[in-house]
Each structure stands twice: as structure tokens, then as C-alpha cells.
């Protein structure tokens, strides 16, 4: 069954300050949605709130993935339900190798006694790393420790490929990537496109969308989705910037929750 992901009336706060002011979004498997918008408009907060980052408190709304409300679940349950967030700033964890980490993640989706065999796991991981042009030594490196910005992003995509999620959120996956790395990452994402999987691509540059073609584009301002359209919307934003959107909607300050 194709994944259906429905966000309704999502509000979230950080340290008591409301950043998301009622997000509504519907996605189906096979679709790629892009969320665009200037800095400080709540895009990354949306990603973090959906994943369940402890800093954010969801105050209202639901996020149903195949009818189950993710917001009622712990972070790990959301992941096992099929949500994946490629993070903008992945943590570095010393002493935990990339392979041990990913194997734990895969096994967390399997029943006890049905864990993935080491040899099968290594083969899969090596194959995916090759696709992403990652050095095989990254298998045994400590998780993200000493990785460059680009290496971290590739490692996020590697995890996505290994975990086979239903809904993927890419949070500024293009930031800090040179054009070659961007292409590799985009190829990785495109290879994962399927009728069963939906993507939510968060970016403030249209550049990424040249490589990952969205079906729908949403503009976020002031903690809300203020405008939605097709791929042509992204192109217009690239050509003309965000000012026209602000003018059209009568928005002076597009940011949210920031001190004046």
C-alpha cells in the first residue's frame, strides 16, 4: 500500500515560543513535496517536530502516517513506523562504529532471533556506499566523528537507503555540499523513488530541485504554509526570490519566533 501522510493543524513551540502555527499538508507515496522558504520561517522546526526532537513541544495537531498518529509515538517508534529524517546537523558519536549503529537500526525493525546476518548486512552496506561513492572505511569509522559536512550528508542518505522508510524528510540536505556531492546525493534519493515512498524536501535553494524534481512545492512563512503549487512555483522563486510572495500575501516579516 502506498504511504499516505497527512499533517493537520500542527503547532509546535520551543521554550514556550510558538514556531509552527498550524501546518496542513497531505502527501502520498510516490510524491515528492518541496518545502521552501527563507531562513527562520520554521522549515527545520517542522522536520524536527515531526521526528520528535526533545527541544520541540507539539501543542496541537496530528501527523497521520497510514492512519497512525506519529505525534503520539516516541522517536524510535516514529522511525519504525516508517519516518526518516535526514538531518541538517547529524550527531557525532564516539566509539560507535557506523556499521554497529546501522545494524542496530536495522535490527530494531526485526524480531528477536531474526536479526540480519553480519555478512548480508555488510554486503548491503558496501553496495550502497559504492553508489554514494563513499570510502569503504566509513563502515568502521565512528559515527560521523571527524566526517566533513559532505560526508555526513552522504552518511544520512546511506542510512535512508539501508532503512527503506515510507516517508523521507530531507532537511537542508544540500547545505554544505559542492555540486558533485549534491549530484551524488540527489542520485541516491532518486534511486529511492517509488510509488510506496513519499519525500518531503526542505530547502531554501531551488538548486537541489534541479536534481530532485518535486511534484508539489510549498512556501513556508511565519510558521505556516502560505502558498502551494507545482514545480513552476520553485522556478519562479528561484528567478524572483520571495519578495513577491510576501507582497501578494501582505507579509512584512516572514520569520517566526525570533527576537526583534
Amino acid at each position: 500500500m502506498a504511504a499516505e501522510f497527512v499533517i493537520e493543524g500542527l503547532k509546535a513551540t520551543i521554550e514556550g515560543k510558538e514556531i509552527l502555527k498550524g501546518i496542513n499538508l497531505q502527501m502520498k507515496g510516490g510524491e515528492i513535496h518541496a518545502i521552501m522558504g527563507p531562513n527562520g520561517t520554521g522549515k527545520s522546526t517542522l522536520a524536527s517536530a515531526l521526528m520528535g526532537h526533545p527541544k520541540y513541544e507539539v501543542t496541537e495537531g496530528t501527523a497521520l502516517l497510514e492512519g497512525e498518529d506519529l505525534l503520539e509515538m516516541a522517536v524510535d517508534e516514529r522511525a519504525r513506523a516508517g519516518l526518516f529524517l535526514a538531518m541538517q546537523y547529524p550527531s557525532e558519536i564516539s566509539g560507535v562504529t557506523n556499521s554497529d549503529f546501522l545494524r542496530s537500526a536495522i535490527n530494531s525493525r526485526r524480531e528477536e532471533g531474526k536479526e540480519i546476518s553480519l555478512i548480508k548486512f555488510i554486503r548491503q552496506m558496501e553496495a550502497k556506499m559504492k553508489e554514494l561513492e563513499m570510502n569503504p572505511e566509513f563502515l568502521h569509522r565512528y559515527l560521523n566523528e571527524g566526517f566533513s559536512g559532505g560526508e555526513k550528508k552522504r552518511n544520512e542518505i546511506l542510512q535512508m537507503m539501508m532503512l527503506d522508510p515510507k516517508i523521507v524528510i530531507l532537511d537542508e540536505i544540500d547545505s554544505g555540499l559542492d555540486i558533485d556531492a549534491l549530484k551524488i546525493v540527489a542520485e541516491g534519493v532518486n534511486a529511492m523513488r517509488s510509488p510506496e515512498r513519499g519525500f518531503l524536501v526542505i530547502t531554501h535553494y531551488q538548486r537541489l530541485l534541479n536534481y530532485i524534481k518535486p511534484d508539489f512545492v510549498h512556501v513556508m512563512m511565519q510558521g505556516r504554509i502560505v502558498k502551494s503549487g507545482g514545480p513552476e512555483l520553485a522556478e519562479r522563486l528561484e528567478a524572483e526570490g520571495y519578495e513577491w510572495v510576501k507582497e501578494e500575501l501582505g507579509i512584512e516579516d516572514e520569520t517566526v519566533g525570533q527576537e526583534a
Partner: protein, 433 residues
């Protein structure tokens, strides 16, 4: 403030026990002298730890265990430790005395001595007398004095000149009778250019409070190498006070691997005295504290010889309301030119009630040296937990990964695979996983 040490035993009883055990006169005299010292000495002063408030007076009385005719008769509490050891060199102490000793015939043929210390004192008196209490001195404090007065069972290992032993020799020290005095003394003498690995396990199986007052003395001869691995896994009711000390001659090497996995209050002090030129020391300590344990771990390196490197690493994980004071003392004496003393202490706290203190101390009386230290105390980073959980890993498993990751740099360096796996299992058990 002076606290009068309450002696758990009187001179008459010590003489009586010594006589009954057939001990040489020098040993009886040594015990009596130590008892006198114990009455006059104070408890050791430990950094930020009030030892006088600990349960440290349960010495009990001497109770010899019945010898085991074979390992099959060993108590179930140590069964896992002796599995497959039928052929291996092994000493088992149960409560106040040895119940099993075995030395492989090949090693015996090479002149290796491996038996309980009480037996060695009778059969190899000169060798024992020459070294006993020469590294941990009875006049240091009341605990050391009481140890010297009361020690029982124990282990004696002598490796003759140029003898290199590949297989580890093992000992198990078990207390399962709260009434019994449990004061084992480990004495290892590695003669010139010899090499040996010794592994011991300290285990308790009882529910009343008891005390382990232990001492370890290792004499590393010129060019000799001793690898000493020790795992303490006493239960909640056993207070553990252990002094380990190695004296290392020219170009000798001591390597300590210590797993502090007790469930009760623990004070340990592991010290290498680098006496000779080129002597070296490496100490790795991993510890897990849980419940309401009070813990004080000290590692020390004292450099007298020239060109002496020392390295000490302690990594400790504290959960629930365990409190730990972790001290590292590097002392470089005048004349120890080109000494190099390094130390690292790291504490990871898993709960808001857990406490950890890391105190790196460098005392340097010589200019031509290198020394360094690093210390850190911190909580598990919630961002890291979130990151791992966001991949489907449960909170429990995420914490486990982070904790093992924290211990990994030490655990992965442990050269004995069996010991590495054992420690891994003990860590898991202590973390309630």
C-alpha cells in the same frame, strides 16, 4: 580528629591462627607487628571520601573452606569462571583460605611457582619473606596494617628468570560466608626477563555485609613483563578496599587491566613505581557504578627511573545515584629525566543523581620530562540519544550504544579476548541490560 581503630582480632588469636596454620615464625611476628601498627594508625585519607563512614569493620573470623577434590565441586557462583579450566593453572580461594590450586606440569617443570600464598610462605619462605609487604607497606595506614595482620589464602606466583609464559594464570577469590575473614594477598614476583599474564576474579555470593581488604604486590624484575588483569564483581553487601602496587625494575613493564564491576562501596588504588631506568607502566581501568554505590578509584604512577613512560586511563560510567571520585596521580621524582607520564580520566553520568569527580594530579620534580592529562565528566548527550532513536533504535539500546562507545577505547585495547568478552557481559549486567 583521631579515630581509634577498633581491632577485629587480638594478638592471642593471631598467634593461635598462625600456629594452627603452621606458619613460619617470621610470618607470625610480621602479623603481630602489623596488628600493633593497626592500633596506632589512622585510616587512609582518600580524596573527598569519608572512609570512616563506610562499612569497613566486618572482618568476621577465620573460616577455612574445605578443599575441593576437583573443580566439579566448586560452588555454582564461580562455575562460569572456571568452565574449561580443568587443565589450566588456577588458584581458588573461598573465604579465609585456598580450596583449590593447580599448576600445569609444564610450568612447574620450568620452575614456576603458583600456589596460595599461605602455602608458599611455608614452602618458599625466603622468596615470600623477601617480597611480602615490601610494596604495600603495613605502616602506611590502618587498612594496610590490618591487611598485613590478617591476610589469608592469597596467591603466590613466581616466574623464574627468562621464563616466558603464554597462557594466562588465573585465580578466583570468592567470599560466600559473611562471617568469614576475607583478606587475600596476591604476591607476584617476575624474575629478570620473564613474562607472564595473570588474571583474577573477585566474586561474592552472600547477602550479609562483609569486607574485602585486599592487597596486590607485583615485583617486575629487569626486562620482565607482567600483565595483571583483575575483575572485581562483589555484590552489594561487600565493601571492597584494594591496594594494588607494582615495583618495576630496569626496562620492566607492568600492564594493569582493571574492571571495577562491584555492586558495593569500593575504594581501590592501583600504583606503579617505576624504579628502574626504562621501566614502563600502562594502566587501564573501566568502571560501572550503580545503585547508591560510593566509589573512589585512584591510579598512580611514580617515576624514579630515567626514560620511564607511564600511561593511565580510567573510564567510568555512573548510573542511578552512584558517586565516584576518580583520581590520577602522576609523580615524577627528581632525576627521572625523560620520564613521560600521561593520564586520562573520563566519567559518563547516566542519571541526574549520579555523581562523578575526576581529579588529575601531576607532581613533577624534574624539568626534563613530558607529562599530560585530560579529564572530563559529563552526561549522555540528549542530541545523541535523539539521533540514534530517530533511526528506530530504542532509548535503551541507544544508551547502550553510547555507553559502550564511551568504554570502547579502553575495552578494545584489552589484549585478552576472553577478558574483553567477560567485561562486556559484566558491563551489560551492571547497566541492567
Amino acid at each position: 580528629m583521631t579515630t581509634q581503630t577498633i581491632l577485629p582480632v587480638d594478638a592471642a588469636r593471631i598467634s593461635e591462627l598462625s600456629q594452627a596454620g603452621g606458619e613460619p615464625v617470621w610470618l607470625k611476628d610480621s602479623r603481630l607487628k602489623a596488628l600493633e601498627l593497626a592500633a596506632a594508625l589512622e585510616l587512609p585519607k582518600l580524596e573527598k571520601t569519608r572512609l570512616d563512614r563506610w562499612n569497613i569493620n566486618n572482618y568476621g573470623s577465620h573460616k577455612a573452606g574445605a578443599s575441593l577434590a576437583s573443580l566439579a565441586e566448586a560452588p555454582s557462583s564461580v562455575a562460569a569462571l572456571i568452565a574449561g579450566q580443568e587443565e589450566g593453572s588456577l588458584v581458588i580461594q573461598r573465604n579465609s583460605g585456598a580450596v583449590y590450586t593447580h599448576l600445569s606440569p609444564e610450568l612447574a617443570a620450568q620452575g614456576v611457582i603458583f600456589t596460595d600464598l599461605a602455602t608458599a610462605a611455608k614452602e618458599h619462605g625466603d622468596l615470600v619473606q623477601k617480597h611480602l609487604h615490601k610494596a604495600v607497606l603495613p605502616d602506611e595506614h590502618a587498612i594496610a596494617a590490618l591487611h598485613a595482620a590478617l591476610w589469608n589464602g592469597g596467591v603466590f606466583l613466581y616466574v623464574p628468570k627468562n621464563v616466558v609464559i603464554d597462557t594466562p594464570l588465573q585465580a578466583i577469590l570468592l567470599t560466600d560466608d559473611a562471617e568469614a575473614t576475607f583478606v587475600p594477598h596476591i604476591l607476584i614476583v617476575a624474575d629478570t626477563n620473564s613474562s607472564v599474564t595473570y588474571v583474577d576474579n573477585y566474586v561474592s555470593d552472600k547477602t550479609e555485609s562483609g569486607l574485602h581488604n585486599g592487597a596486590v604486590e607485583v615485583f617486575v624484575g629487569a626486562g620482565a613483563k607482567v600483565q595483571y588483569a583483575s575483575v572485581h564483581q562483589f555484590g552489594t553487601d561487600t565493601t571492597d578496599i584494594t591496594y594494588r602496587r607494582a615495583v618495576v625494575e630496569n626496562d620492566g613493564t607492568i600492564e594493569w587491566i582493571v574492571g571495577e564491576m562491584n555492586y558495593g562501596d569500593t575504594a581501590s588504588d592501583t600504583k606503579s613505581v617505576l624504579k628502574g631506568n626504562g621501566a614502563s607502566s600502562d594502566a587501564k581501568v573501566i568502571a560501572v557504578g550503580s545503585g547508591s554505590q560510593k566509589l573512589n578509584y585512584t591510579t598512580q604512577a611514580q617515576h624514579f627511573g630515567k626514560n620511564t613512560p607511564s600511561d593511565m586511563i580510567t573510564r567510568a560510567v555512573m548510573r542511578e545515584s552512584a558517586t565516584s571520585i576518580i583520581n590520577g596521580v602522576t609523580k615524577i621524582e627528581k632525576g627521572a629525566t625523560r620520564a613521560d607520564g600521561q593520564q586520562t580520566e573520563k566519567v559518563l553520568m547516566l542519571s541526574p543523581k549520579a555523581r562523578g569527580d575526576a581529579n588529575p594530579i601531576l607532581l613533577i620534580d624534574e624539568d626534563d620530562v613530558t607529562a599530560g592529562h585530560a579529564a572530563s565528566v559529563g552526561q549522555v548527550n540528549p542530541e545523541q540519544i535523539y539521533y540514534l532513536m530517530s533511526r528506530g533504535i530504542s532509548r535503551h539500546d541507544a544508551e547502550k550504544l553510547i555507553i559502550y562507545g564511551f568504554l570502547a577505547p579502553v575495552v578494545s585495547q584489552i589484549p585478552l579476548e576472553g577478558l574483553r568478552n567477560q567485561l562486556q557481559t559484566l558491563v551489560e549486567r551492571k547497566l541492567g541490560q
